[in-house]
Symmetry: C2
Subunit: 558 residues, 2 copies
């Protein structure tokens, strides 16, 4: 695709029209800069799929132009796809210290740590990427060391906010860099890409510090053990739990591998401060009196295999939840997880624990979002004062609402672009319009397989999950096509065999009848035989059961 | 189970520890009264299941004692299982006029209308049921004609609230019968069973009338067509939509079979008042100017096959959603449905409709719950002043919270019973304690099959849905066990075959090798052969793919 040297192309390969698998691209002439490389958790229909990453065919076809990948922060929906991308694209990765620490762990696991060029940046860095230059500015989010990106291009400045909120009393005392943002806005922003996650929420998102107060309030009242469950990556939240443990003379044990990893990396890099001797092993914790115990655990989303969920089911190797425990679920359910979280809360309540969750804290809430609400989104728009606006990081209705906010602060409707993955905005001679579409899509990862599970496989899994399968096997004579053995019918996931003998006997008879009829009518071709069997058997089963199991006729010849 | 003639047994066969499939039982000596017979929608793991109803083995074993089934109101989670129950238990059904109208439609569909004794009751009725006598009191809910039940037993009065809220400005001007409730409470209530659905919500649930105001506000501003989606059974909500259509000179069309059914029955029985000529067919509506159109539709929960969802996907036969339409989703997602509703909202937004949903109305909310919040639950407790309390109609944490509310109004903890389905409360000589457990459980309905899909079938469907299935067929010689044909490997839902030839070729080789080895070692028994194949093939596939498809070895002999 030939590009005028004086035009800039902006698009998403993931992250618009969805929450997850963020990957944004800014192309200026023969230079491409990628921002973020995340994963998305599978939709409900993606049976058996582990994760979804962006289809990077466009980048592979233009690999000579890709100058680097900038990562705004260390959340999975921004770094989770990086290892896969780097196996196909050998380009430098730019990230802040904590982000790089989390990235390195992933690259090491994927066996590509040594062959990847990783460049440490901070909010004062300047990075030259072909004809573009990147600078950064600090933002607040639910993980430390997050930045937004300001890309200088021949057409003007393109700004990407990263994920952000404005926390005026942040835990690490590092507010968002308002002065720098204002300066960038004053200098002139050609196009802004901004985080739309909470665009539907009025007001401001609360400060992380308020959660600390609520947590301490719970600690002050709890007489037994305290269990706190939160997102493993929320280092500020973990810091406040640590501080509360210290204040109330409790020891702390950490449960859940992802939580342990984040804590280790954060402590090592200086983002989390834990006094020596505070953290003890689970075995030690089990020997302490209840009022001296804090258990910090994963599982705030009710994930079936996570620590808290297993503890709630009494299925954790080392720790049980006991009557009298206080459990703080310092998170709210990500859309789609509401029933899992509700189930975990139920199980914990049944055991006799007191469960504090969501907005149910006695003194304020035990969780705040990491994303800015409407007032903060309007604040960002007014700081940046962009000519053009592309809402990102959100499902359609969030992008739509964000575009309305932009109109409210004075950006003309025709200067706002609502994109799907693969839609582009082309800016040339200072004017922006929709450009040509580029290839974009989902790559499904199942076990070790990347991209080999497509629609056909998913469709089959869906069918199998609904009414199961009937395998019909028959051995025919090569010479004259007579039935030598069978038909044998084996079912899985269809009916309880022991109670359905009549049904399956009759099914068997129908198959035999169909095959005999085919032979009499000289229908010998296997695909016709199979289709006839599928049809007659399927019809019978539906009449009898109103179910449509997959029917798999298999013919052996001897 | 022998019961003292002077003891009363109270328990649930469905509805506690869950939302759905309500069925409560009060047994006094040789008399059993059943309250409600609902269905529950399947959990996510119940693959391919259509609905779940209570296991009524206990009632079948005591069929001579069952005097009747009282139905408190016409919602599916209270009447949805009735047809199935009545096929096994021929007992009279007692219900109010609208409830009976909805029940009759179901009985007719099940072909048992004429053989069922149906008794019309109202809030002044008295019904003798063996040694018990039932009276009723009016409550408010999200469907008209709801009652609570007061059962006089030899031990005292047992009160069941039905589903309720206290709406002080109800649409039909029929407030809950506060005076009667107060009188019942004054006379003395032995045990109260009360609706726990909103026990976690502080304050009062809003009045239905406020929704009407919000709807009229939207109508006053909309310039194009208006689409309103709500629960088909919410007759009061439908009335307010009708009233708004009248006020703003719009015609109304109804889309969705369940909505049409409820409207027909409600109009016929005098519960819904619609001026002649207001409702028109969809074809007519399509000819009218946009500002004269209201479309009332099902699909407020994003149900895949419902009218609104199909309209959003441009898949409805008669009606499309158009840019400029205003869509009011006058409902909130039932827990578990959040993603479906979000998806529908996204699709509607993409089409260019303005979508008003949940708490996002410009002037107040376009939906209120039908269940009372904490202040109303405490009000009910204080009206009834029961000696003993059993929270019902809720998941565990809701029952738990309701029990805390009861303690707050002065009911001693030891007089409050938190039950699971099948747990009983036995009251004898005026004293209540936990009684013996009775059999309770889920009966799964899939297509026409009732109860034949059990754990094994569900487990198999789950396995199949994750990684699919590999069928391995081989024909052996009867005489010497040599391979005459095969092995043939057919996979479904595992890998995309065209891209996995190497994998499947090697799989084939491994199976052959395993069979040959078995023969050399004189392993002839089929189950051993199959297990060896499963093991060696399963190990290979997992090493290569990290997936565990179901492996189905089939041996034919000729």
């Amino acid at each position: 695709m030939a590009k005028s040297n004086h035009s800039v192309l902006i698009f998403a390969l993931g992250g618009v029209g969805e929450i997850g698998k963020n990957m944004y691209v800014v192309q200026s002439g023969d230079d491409i800069v990628v921002i973020d490389a995340g994963l998305k958790f599978p939709e409900e229909e993606m049976l058996g799929i582990d994760m979804v990453i962006p289809d990077i065919t466009y980048l592979e076809e233009n690999r000579d132009k890709v100058r680097g990948i900038i990562i705004t922060h260390g959340h999975e929906d921004h770094i989770g796809g990086l290892s896969y991308v780097l196996k196909h694209l050998k380009v430098p990765v730019y990230a802040t210290k904590l982000t790089l620490g989390l990235i390195d762990a992933k690259l090491k696991e994927a066996g590509i740590l040594n062959e990847t060029k990783r460049v440490l940046i901070n909010s004062d860095s300047e990075v030259v990427l072909g004809s573009m230059k990147a600078t950064f500015f600090r933002v607040n989010h639910s993980i430390p060391d997050c930045v937004g990106v300001c890309l200088e291009t021949p057409e003007g400045y393109v700004v990407h906010t990263g994920d952000f909120k404005f926390d005026q009393t942040p835990i690490n005392n590092q507010t968002a860099d308002l002065a720098k943002m204002a300066m960038i806005g004053d200098r002139g922003v050609l196009c802004l890409l901004s985080d739309s996650t909470n665009a539907e929420r009025p007001g401001f998102t609360g400060s992380e510090r308020s959660v600390g107060a609520a947590i301490k309030d719970v600690f002050s009242k709890a007489t037994g053990r305290i269990v706190v469950s939160t997102f493993a990556s929320n280092v500020h939240r973990i810091q406040q739990v640590v501080d509360a443990a210290v204040q109330f003379n409790r020891k702390l044990t950490v449960v859940g591998r992802s939580m342990q990893n984040v804590i280790n990396i954060s402590r090592e890099l200086g983002y989390l401060f834990v006094p020596e001797g505070l953290i003890v092993e689970s075995d030690e914790i089990n020997k302490l009196p209840a009022e001296q115990v804090v258990i910090l655990s994963t599982g705030s989303q009710g994930e079936p295999m996570s620590a808290l969920t297993r503890m709630a089911r009494s299925a954790h190797r080392k720790i049980d939840i006991l009557p009298g425990d206080t459990v703080i679920i310092a998170a709210t359910p990500i859309p789609g997880n509401e029933k899992y979280v509700a189930r975990t809360i139920d199980q914990l309540s049944r055991i006799g624990a007191e469960v504090i969750y969501g907005g149910h804290g006695p003194n304020g809430t035990v969780h705040v979002s990491g994303h800015g609400s409407q007032e903060e989104l309007r604040l960002m728009l007014n700081l940046m004062k962009p000519k053009y606006f592309i809402p990102i990081h959100g499902e359609y209705r969030m992008l739509k609402m964000h575009s309305l906010l932009a109109e409210q602060v004075g950006i003309p409707e025709e200067n706002i672009f609502l994109l799907d993955n693969g839609d582009t905005v082309e800016i040339s001679g200072g004017r922006a319009r929709y450009g040509p579409k580029v290839h974009a899509g989902n790559v499904l990862i199942d076990g070790l397989g990347v991209g080999d599970v497509g629609n056909i496989v998913l469709r089959d899994r869906k069918l199998l999950s609904q009414d199961g399968i009937l395998v019909v096997v028959v051995t025919l004579s090569k010479q004259n096509g007579t039935i030598l053995s069978g038909p044998d019918i084996i079912s899985r996931g269809f009916v309880y065999v022991r109670e359905s003998e009549e049904l399956l006997d009759e099914a068997n008879r129908i198959v035999t009848q169909t095959l005999v009829k085919c032979m009499e009518e000289n229908v010998n071709e296997w695909s016709s035989l199979k289709n006839n069997v599928k049809e007659s058997l399927g019809r019978y089963l539906f009449e009898q059961t109103r179910r449509r199991p997959m029917i798999l006729p298999i013919i052996m010849e001897v």
